[in-house]
């Protein structure tokens, strides 16, 4: 219950903030990015948290969504709103393709196989220049503000769309978690062999989780590039800027919890910005060192995620023998 209050409060703050911020300014952009990454972390959470499969290749889905909607826009003038669904559809196909060979892989093997997939997509995007523009990257075409074409004059609509996206992905997460699929996923997490024995179709459940997660991530890819406007294979399929960051956000916040990714994003994105703002003009590398030190400190302090901070009372109760 406590966690839902926190969630509600944070959402309320996020919804109110755009009214006070410079509509084309810096803070609204940070807010939008925070919300988008929270949504991405939540999409990742479906596989990483509920199915306990740490994926470091979610950029594959993200990039597919990003390139699909943008290429459809550039080549056919198709509105990104529709391109969004096309991207999600293609991303879910990719999720299927990735999930099949990696189905039986345990723990770290799964993680590294997904990493390999992300890299495969990045190299393909880099090499297939005739389709994707190659390493030089592509831009969402410069156009006059037109809501039907996902082009806005200020950043405010982007922020609200991101907020809605976060709520939607969280709703999907909760629906899975509380529903039959979540029950089956927990069974698999506990003991996969036993789950099979009692009749859980482990393959179908894991595949479903992967496809849902992938599709959502693909859609978020579209939202992201409509804000960022320019991207290249290293951005859209990037191991560090997307795959690792998204997983990190869910983990710092609290993997497997609905509140985790939002807390994680609200912590990590502003932290990166502060470190850059305050320290990057000084000695080279200093801002990154500060960032890394804070990251290490938080993981050591709360290895199960910042969300456990809000369980202060319950943990104190548990401490009594």
């Amino acid at each position: 219950m406590r966690r839902w209050i926190i969630f509600g409060l944070l959402i309320a703050v996020a919804a109110a903030l755009p009214l006070f911020l410079d509509a084309r300014g810096y803070w609204i952009r940070v807010l939008t990015l925070t919300l988008l990454f929270a949504a991405m972390g939540q999409a990742w959470n479906i596989v990483g948290g509920l199915a306990n499969q740490i994926s470091l290749g979610h950029a594959a889905f993200f990039g597919i969504g990003a390139y699909t909607s943008t290429l459809l826009l550039i080549n056919f003038g198709l509105s990104p709103w529709i391109g969004l669904f096309a991207g999600a559809a293609l991303a879910s196909v990719a999720a299927l393709v990735i999930a099949l060979p990696t189905m039986r892989l345990q723990g770290h093997y799964f993680t590294l196989a997904t990493l390999a997939f992300g890299e495969v997509m990045r190299v393909i995007a880099n090499v297939w220049s005739s389709l994707t523009g190659g390493p030089v990257g592509i831009s969402v075409p410069f156009m006059a503000p037109d809501p039907l074409m996902y082009s806005f004059r200020t950043t405010v609509p982007h922020a609200y769309i991101a907020l809605l996206a976060l709520l939607l992905v969280t709703a999907v997460f909760v629906w899975i978690d509380r529903g039959a699929m979540g029950y089956r996923l927990r069974a698999i997490k506990g003991n996969e062999a036993a789950a099979e024995v009692i009749g859980v179709n482990t393959m179908r459940v894991k595949l479903s989780a992967a496809v849902i997660s992938g599709a959502l991530m693909g859609a978020l890819g579209t939202l992201y590039v409509q804000l960022a406007l320019f991207f290249d294979p290293d951005t859209a399929f990037g191991l560090v800027p997307i795959s690792v960051r998204v997983a990190l956000i869910a983990i710092i916040g609290g993997v497997g919890t609905a509140l985790g990714p939002l807390i994680g994003a609200a912590f990590i994105i502003p932290l990166e910005e502060f470190a850059n703002d305050l320290l990057s003009s000084g000695a080279a590398g200093l801002s990154q060192i500060a960032y890394a030190l804070v990251l290490i400190a938080v993981i050591l302090w709360r290895p199960r995620g910042l969300v456990t901070l809000f369980d202060a009372v319950s943990s104190k109760v548990r401490k009594k023998p």
Partner: protein
């Protein structure tokens, strides 16, 4: 003919991949931790060897033990103060702690040593031997020989020394090991320090033909993980087989596919191998 040359080149460079990856698999095997910061110790080893060359006039291969020692010491502290604290934490926390350590080490090197690209000049750097129509690059050959030596020493150590056996015991069953009087915390420090030391050793050995700069680790990190997982996490023999395989695949793929797709081919092979052998080539079946 071109096949033979590619195969030879692949084996030579595969040997090097093996030696820099052995440390990673050792750390996993004993502690169960996937150390994303491993490649940073490669960088540390390379820097130590470079400074030894620049200020002491030592050939990097000769300075390799120094690199080992430096990384060993740093690894000991990192394990004791940081990694050791999350051994009981969820695997994801461990992974991302090592990611934090990666960023820390890389940028500390940037701050301390600057961003310049440094390399050594050694007399044998541009030499190659000719076996008939085949070229054998001398720096690669030396690196390969050192890798074999290193592997042999490690094999002896793990199999026949008290420390090695204690480490394997700790890996197999920490509780039982403790009951037998082994200080597991000490063993973990040993394993980690040894693991990163080996990677640093590898770094010194490859310095003659590469350059060192703070972000050089990034070029090797995905390769190292591919080698280790392909061979089977935790298996030293797996790291060797994995290394050779990766080297050969990378090299021979350039005969059939554009060089630009080198890594793509490697990753596809990697995924296919895992699809059919989920525990890696040598890894123990679960």
């Amino acid at each position: 003919m071109a096949y033979l040359q590619a195969l030879l080149d692949g084996l030579l460079i595969g040997g090097v991949y093996a030696v820099i990856s052995i440390g990673l698999t050792l750390v996993y095997g004993v502690m169960g931790i996937v150390n994303f910061a491993q490649a940073e110790f490669l960088m540390i080893g390379m820097f130590v060897a470079w400074f030894a060359w620049a200020y002491l006039g030592l050939d990097p291969v000769v300075a390799a033990p120094l690199s080992f020692a430096a990384a060993f010491a740093i690894g000991w502290v990192v394990q004791g103060q940081l990694i050791g604290r999350v051994l009981k934490a969820p695997a994801v926390a461990q992974i991302f702690l090592t990611v934090g350590v990666l960023i820390l080490i890389e940028n500390s090197a940037l701050m301390l040593f600057g961003s310049q690209f440094r390399s050594v000049t050694t007399p044998y750097q541009t030499m190659s031997l000719q076996l008939g129509p085949l070229f054998v690059s001398v720096p690669y050959l030396i690196a390969f020989v050192m890798s074999v030596l290193c592997g042999a020493v490690l094999w002896w150590f793990m199999g026949f020394s008290w420390f090695g056996r204690a480490m394997r015991a700790t890996a197999q069953n920490p509780t039982a090991a403790q009951l037998m009087g082994i200080d597991t915390a000490f063993m973990y420090k040993m394993a980690f320090a040894l693991g990163v030391g080996l990677t640093a050793f590898g770094g010194a050995v490859i310095l003659p033909y590469t350059t060192v700069f703070p972000t050089v680790g990034g070029q090797f990190v995905v390769l190292m993980f591919t080698v280790v997982v392909l061979g089977g996490l935790g298996s030293v023999a797996g790291a060797v087989i994995g290394g050779l395989t990766v080297g050969v695949v990378q090299s021979m793929s350039t005969l059939f596919f554009p060089i630009q797709l080198q890594n793509l081919v490697l990753f596809v092979v990697f995924i296919l191998v895992l699809a059919f052998r989920p525990q890696g080539l040598i890894g123990a079946a679960r």
